[in-house]
Amino acid sequence: MQTFSKDEIKRYSRHLILPEVGISGQRKLKDASVLCIGIGGLGSPLSMYLAAAGVGRIGLVDFDLVDYSNLQRQILYSTVDVGKLKLEVAAERLRALNPEVEIVQYNETFNSRNALKISSDYDIIADGTDNFPTRYLANDVSVLLGIPNVYTSIFRFEGQATVFHSKEGPCYRCLYPEPPPPGMVPNCAEGGVLGILPGIMGTIQASEVIKLILGVGKPLIGRLLLLNALDMSVREIHTYKDPECPICGERPTIHELTDYEKFCGVNVGSYNNELESDWIIQPEELASEIIKNPKLSLIDVRNPPEWEICNLPNVHLIPEQELPSRLNELDKNDDIVVYCKSGVRSSRAVMMLKVAGFKRVRNLNGGIQAWSEKVDQSIPKY
């Protein structure tokens, strides 16, 4: 049983005088442990409010470095932190905010090999990751360990929040049995996101965590909260446990963690795997070919706002999602080079064109970012 020092009594006084919290509730918070998976846009406000509230042990999993493009929304980090390990900066910031809480750092990817071991030390996990494979992984960990997974995810101006707790309601697989095919749903780096949105959703996530620990109010179990910041509307959808759910249903077929990248059809870090080497072109090679071969056709598969930030000259802009319906604008016998920001979307576009019967199509390795690094530094990175 935890006791409180005089300083702690002062620190938590606004909680202590709340009938719904009080000394006994604050003690529950101090006894509790929460694992924050990802400390980016959602994880920033989430971990800060959990630390401020006095959650006794907070685990952080992340392996990224702070980038300039994070600062628009990831409020744990400042300009001076660019290039540093997020985990180090976050831990320092949270300890400064509240030295009474223990911050545990996991400088690794959250994956099938370490996820159960890491998570088994926690009462609750909070999924603030940015990709589908890790979301299915976090779900399966929560079901297999029987602990709640407080979930939020965001897209442009929209957020989804719920609590997955398979003992009392549906899990993520009940709600979304299958992931979208790769490229079908843009992530924040591809589609953009309103910087404030993870702030709103991350604080909703923190509220749900705190409510679960305190055992007060009505948790978002079996309810999906949908927030649209553009019209500032909030809706609630009832979600149901699927009797046929492969992990929490009546006849489960999943009893251990699996290969989530395979399940989601992605291979992070090696997107060119499916392309043979003669379907890939390096930025330096492209630079010399553009001069030698005036018939070379360049296609940009990014979205128009990205085009406005930077582009290559004499390029045909066809956003990836419009490509299937705009093939008639291209000649199957042309010598084509496709690019995007980093080479992922364009690698999918090259595969698509290959399947559609195009004879010579190549992916600009590393996208316009690599072009900026290796050929033309006047092109801004974003």
Partner: protein
């Protein structure tokens, strides 16, 4: 006068359609999806249906807040003034 169904679009579906709510006439979910695909074009259709012409599994469809998978799926009947939401999974963080 016929009263139509209210449609709420989320995620990329709203981005492609350029609108987050609209009205459409239909008697079943499958008619409604077809009408939407006609109205919003090829890119929208490709997001909505897989290569076998089935609605994609990562898009949840709710009729008056009830998941159509637990009703009669594409054959679920809809009536004037019903509200149908199309909600794709999103993963951003």
């Amino acid at each position: 006068m016929r009263m139509s169904i209210k449609i709420l679009l989320y995620g990329n579906l709203a981005s492609i359609a350029g609108i987050s709510s609209t009205n459409i006439d239909a008697n079943t979910v499958s008619q409604l999806l077809d009408a939407l695909a006609i109205r919003y074009g090829e890119v929208f259709r490709e997001k909505l249906y897989d290569s076998n012409g089935k609605p994609r599994r990562f898009i949840n469809i709710y009729v008056n807040g009830k998941d159509y998978r637990f009703l009669k799926k594409s054959d679920t009947e809809i009536f004037p003034n019903d509200e149908v939401s199309l909600i794709p999974a999103v993963s951003g963080g």
